[in-house]
Symmetry: C2
Subunit: 355 residues, 2 copies
């Protein structure tokens, strides 16, 4: 592999000149530039970005940490990061934590050793030591899908509380009053915790008593949603509507409900969160709270790059969420056909459904 020195020798110039034709071609006379260019061809010269990084102390690489690439929202945000980084000639190293804090820690460590210029983290643990360390050591980073609103960190996120609120409100406006929630485990990330808070407050604001049996926490997976809905349906008084803390879980929940013999949305309304790319392709098409994952990824990357060259104050970018009503939600059957009997205490066989 030939180096600048080889090129320099061949072109009878100094390595400095070779470096110049690469980095600031205009600063070198046309004639010498051509000579150098020709020499580069001749010895099949390949630029070594690693050596450059070593010399400049900039790797032109950022680290991107996500919990689970299989969840389409994260795939989407990753694409947003990627494409922006690409535009700016920045490479991105991807790390998948599987929602494990220890994995997140060791990834960050490895990434830092690799001298990434910055980090975009969809963290599982915003209050953890690692994040604090990043701050005190002045590593440029931004938290993506973050729940923190203030403080000394740069952030791209949405108002999860509000999202949970409007999801629930939608269900209530449809006439539901027995509304369950399937939430990704609160101990794993607090995104779902905030959404749950919105859900709970909304119930309260509408005079619907909160029933803790209607909440089930689960893993951030398809099967998590599927198992959880069955658990919910298995109760004596099962919900007529369920808010799932993300679309991925909702997809599982819909499957589970179907397996339980329900037809959606007649028997059960489901609302998700995220609006992942396939949400409108689901059956029924998923009513959900949209967060612009691609743009959020893009924005996070933009913010990071800007921070990298000019630290400045932390910025919080809160993006808009909005309710997207599709086919997975409808008025509860009982509201329409309601006579004197209360659905929830009725002898409707479905309420006693056994798997």
């Amino acid at each position: 592999m030939s180096t600048m020195r080889d090129v320099a020798r061949l072109a009878q110039v100094s390595t400095a000149t070779v470096s110049r034709v690469i980095n600031s071609p205009d600063s070198v006379r046309g004639k010498t530039r051509k000579k150098v260019l020709r020499a580069m061809k001749m010895c099949n010269y390949k630029y070594n970005a690693l050596a450059r990084g070593f010399a400049t102390k900039k790797s032109n690489t950022i680290g991107l940490i996500i919990p689970n690439i299989n969840n389409p929202v994260f795939a989407e945000s990753t694409l947003g990061v990627q494409e922006y980084a690409d535009e700016k000639q920045i490479k991105v190293i991807l790390g998948n934590t599987s929602y494990k804090v220890s994995q997140e820690e060791s990834l960050i460590k490895a990434l830092r050793e690799s001298q990434v210029d910055g980090l975009i983290i969809t963290t599982t643990n915003p209050k953890g030591e690692i994040i604090k360390t990043l701050i005190t050591e002045k590593i440029p980073f931004v938290l993506l899908f973050s729940t923190v609103k203030g403080g000394p960190v740069s952030v791209v996120g949405v108002d999860n509380y509000r999202g949970g609120y409007i999801a629930t409100e939608h269900l209530i406006s449809l006439g539901h009053n027995r509304i369950g929630m399937i939430a990704g485990s609160f101990s794993v990330t607090d995104r779902s915790y905030h959404r749950w808070h919105g859900y709970r407050q909304c119930l309260k604001d509408h005079g619907i008593p909160y029933n803790k049996n209607l909440l089930v926490q689960t893993g951030y997976s398809l099967s998590g949603g599927r198992d959880s809905i069955k658990q919910l349906l298995n109760q004596e008084l099962s919900p007529s509507a369920v808010f799932c803390s993300n679309d991925y879980i909702a997809l599982g929940a819909i499957k589970g409900a179907r397996e339980a013999g329900l037809s959606l949305p007649e028997d059960l309304s489901i609302v998700g969160f995220d609006d992942m790319p396939t949400a409108s392709y689901m059956v029924p098409a998923l009513t959900t709270i949209r967060q612009p994952a691609y743009d959020m990824g893009k924005r996070a990357c933009e913010l990071l790059l800007q921070k990298m060259e000019n630290p400045g104050k932390p910025e919080q970018h809160m993006m808009e969420t909005k309710l997207v009503v599709r086919e997975s939600t409808a008025a509860p059957q009982e509201v329409k056909t309601d006579k004197s009997e209360n659905y929830w205490t009725s002898s409707d066989p479905r309420t006693n459904y056994i798997l």
Copy 2:
């Protein structure tokens, strides 16, 4: 940021010794090791993997190139690569080509400049110049989801031809004889081309004449599938079953068929290819040809790492595909109710369906 020199000075040893406690702790006496370790803590020493890479000419980084991270198969294979790499302390830089050859080229160039130790490429263009260059320049790489079986390249793939064949055979065994195909554009990747070949041969082997109007090529996207199915259904003689060249397209096709008023699988059977993680969660659950994407990614990474330290001969790993029958395929209605009239020339209004 403190360096080895700082640590060495503090511990009153040489930098070589510091290097040793990091890379081969056993080769240094326990006492000095402790001294060094303590010094490292004291000055908050951070190892610089980039400098190491520069010195050793190994970056411990590989490049992973995929066409579209939003397609769940590629997310899944990416996870396989990731987790294996992680285990071996290798970082992976991700690149997304959006099925554009030019993008693939420039990514490979950038990755090489970054001195990645190897490349895993789900290529859009296996016969392109780039691949040849990689070979002649002895860059370790492996083609993932490859269609090439022999030759001088290492490969992890499946028999796409056979996959297409058994998908079609399944449909035929169900009683279908008017079988369409929605294929990702042949000019974009030849994976779908090979699958189409299997489809075509299977028809032939079963005495079903090939009808070119029953093939539509489209983009590798949800909307591609959705639009294409409508195009197919719009024809005078529309198919009773459709083989989609991947699940992602199939998801779109199912949506489109539904919008066209069909109910699946009664009115239309769909079979996909991939068995992406959500395939069994679709409605109807997708009948498909399974390829073990996670294992393929893992295998590709394993193969690459092995190649990196011992070039040797190229290896081709062909993984097993298998038909997974779920709910999206069924016998055609007409076969059961068939009287004297031929369905395909019948006046069934559906055949004249207009969007």
